[in-house]
Amino acid sequence: MNIVVLVKQVPDSGADRNLRSDDNTVDRGSANNVINEMDEYAIEEALKIKEAHGGEVTILTMGPDRATESIRKALSMGPDKAVHVVDDALHGSCAVATSKVLAAALGQLGADLVICGAESTDGRVQVMPHMIAERLGVAALTGARKLTVDGSTLTAERQTEEGYEVVTASTPAVVSVWDTINEPRYPSFKGIMAAKKKPVQTLSLGDLGVASAEVGLDGATSAVLEHTKRPPRSGGTKVTDEGSGGVQLVEFLATEKFV
């Protein structure tokens, strides 16, 4: 099975993250950039399917030059190769344009199965799998916490508010996964060394046949008008329990009319 995993490089969610003051895009320059955590679960799931059923795993990333670091990190887990869509004109692309670019790249790669994380930690927008599926005219099984592959039939448990749904589709399909689906492997030393030699193909907008006017800040379908840092919450009262902490807590809740 020809599997493509979408990998996004994001600013580390454990550190301070900002939007740029000049063009209101995510500040990637001053951030510590890492693989979007949920994508590691997507890579793991792809590798497990390859191990069980054979095939090839390709990483697909759209991002600036520095996303190469994340691509090598992804490859060190075990995928065979990577495709990096990189073009200055992509800076500031909205989700709608991003899906157009990724769908064009996926069209060229001819994937049987596209796996991605359910959301990225920077935007948390959760729209990409369905946007891509809509463009490619293929099935989307999203929010999977379990995935089974039987020939060309995919069955997933999709997490819902009330429990889960069992959903099924045939390949080609897009599947998005939550972090409950597996436990991603750590790259081995051998894996890290091998990753340096794995092929990484770069594609420009021209290679994909997407016009630069359709992407980037100018082609965006939405715009950030302004952004401000939320004032940090000022800590309130802190008491140390000396035997009546529970009662004191309820007294506070009563003052605030919660009790």
């Binding site: 993250r17 099935a139 508010e161 429990g163 919450r233 008491v239 902490g245 807590l249 309820v250």
Partner: protein, 319 residues
């Protein structure tokens, strides 16, 4: 005034979710709300009274197996057709998994911008979003097409405004391409009398400090006494103390209740990402240096196994 489409979120037992009432309240500020019901047979009629109570002037319903038996795509097709027909001033959906997914497909079908996790929307289409774990407030706008927006639960207080809507049944003309992902089974888990996590006014969460799955009874007890939902930190979920669907944080649910009670939660960024826009935050932790106390309006440093039962007893006494 032009129509504003509100795509209804409801339970499978035809209960209108609170976020829907919030969206109807918001829609009244922008135009004339029309509710769009997408679900099983009879959903439109079953939901109409409640939707009317909150100002829906009209109800569009697309019902049956063609809609309900497949994931997302048929719903998006129906809403896209409706948008093209009625040319609404805006389309509002809930910022839930499915709400965002329908919106995603609508954005591609209509070649239209999309804004998610919106907490306020002005009549001129300017939206307010909270980004980066609640640390940044963003004003943004759809610049291509109509405002297509997903609204975060608990962003505003729903207020009733009686209307008596008629239900218009939509002709469902979904394509084969819309029926590629089939729902073969729906399984309800952990469904109790507690409010849903993202919609609850009060959330009581437990973390690693709760110690084990059995001890989560303490968390549940306090939640029930306060009429709240139960949440859990990632550390607690990863340790198997509580099921994943109750996880609050960066890789879980984002909640914004009136009151958030954190028990045995240190307050790592992973967790803060999901709860720091809560109105009032209360924390109990044995480590006085835990970062959760930087957020807490009221914090108690001490042993939660002493403090929580005492608090529960005190609430019972006061009832």
């Amino acid at each position: 005034m032009s129509e504003v489409l509100v795509v209804v979120e409801a339970t499978r037992e035809f209960g209108v979710k609170k976020v829907t009432l919030e969206m109807l309240t918001l829609a009244r500020e922008l135009g004339t709300p029309s509710a769009v019901v997408l679900g099983g047979a009879g959903a439109g009629e079953a939901l109409s009274a409640k939707l009317g109570e909150y100002g829906a002037e009209k109800i569009y319903a697309a019902e049956g197996e063609e809609i309900d038996g497949y994931l997302v795509a048929p719903k998006a097709t129906v809403v896209a057709e409706l948008v093209t027909r009625v040319q609404p001033a805006a389309v509002l959906l809930a910022s839930s998994q499915e709400g965002k997914e329908i919106a995603a497909r609508l954005a591609v079908k209509l070649d239209n911008g999309i804004l998610t996790d919106v907490v306020a929307l002005d009549a001129d289409g300017t939206a307010t979003q909270v980004a980066f774990a609640g640390s940044t407030i963003v004003k943004s706008k759809v610049t291509k097409g109509l405002p297509l927006v997903t609204v975060r639960p608990n962003s505003l207080t729903p207020t009733p405004a009686a209307a008596s809507p008629a239900v218009e049944q939509l002709t469902v003309s979904v394509t084969d391409a819309d029926k590629l992902a089939r729902v073969v089974e729906r399984v309800a888990e952990q469904k109790g009398s507690r409010p849903e996590l993202t919609e609850a006014s009060i959330v009581v969460s437990g973390g690693r400090g709760v110690g084990n799955a059995d001890n989560f009874k303490l968390v549940e007890e306090l939640a029930d006494l306060l009429g709240g939902a139960v949440g859990a930190s990632r550390a607690a979920v990863d340790s198997g103390f509580y099921p994943h669907q109750f996880q609050v944080g960066q890789t879980g649910k984002t909640v914004s209740p009136q009151l958030y009670v954190a028990l045995g939660i240190s307050g790592a960024i992973q967790h803060r990402a999901g709860m720091q826009t809560s109105k009032t935050i209360v924390a109990v932790n044995k480590d006085g240096e835990a970062p959760i106390f930087e957020l807490a309006d009221y914090g108690v440093v001490g042993d939660l196994f002493k403090i929580v039962p005492q608090a529960a007893e005190e609430i019972r006494k006061r009832k």
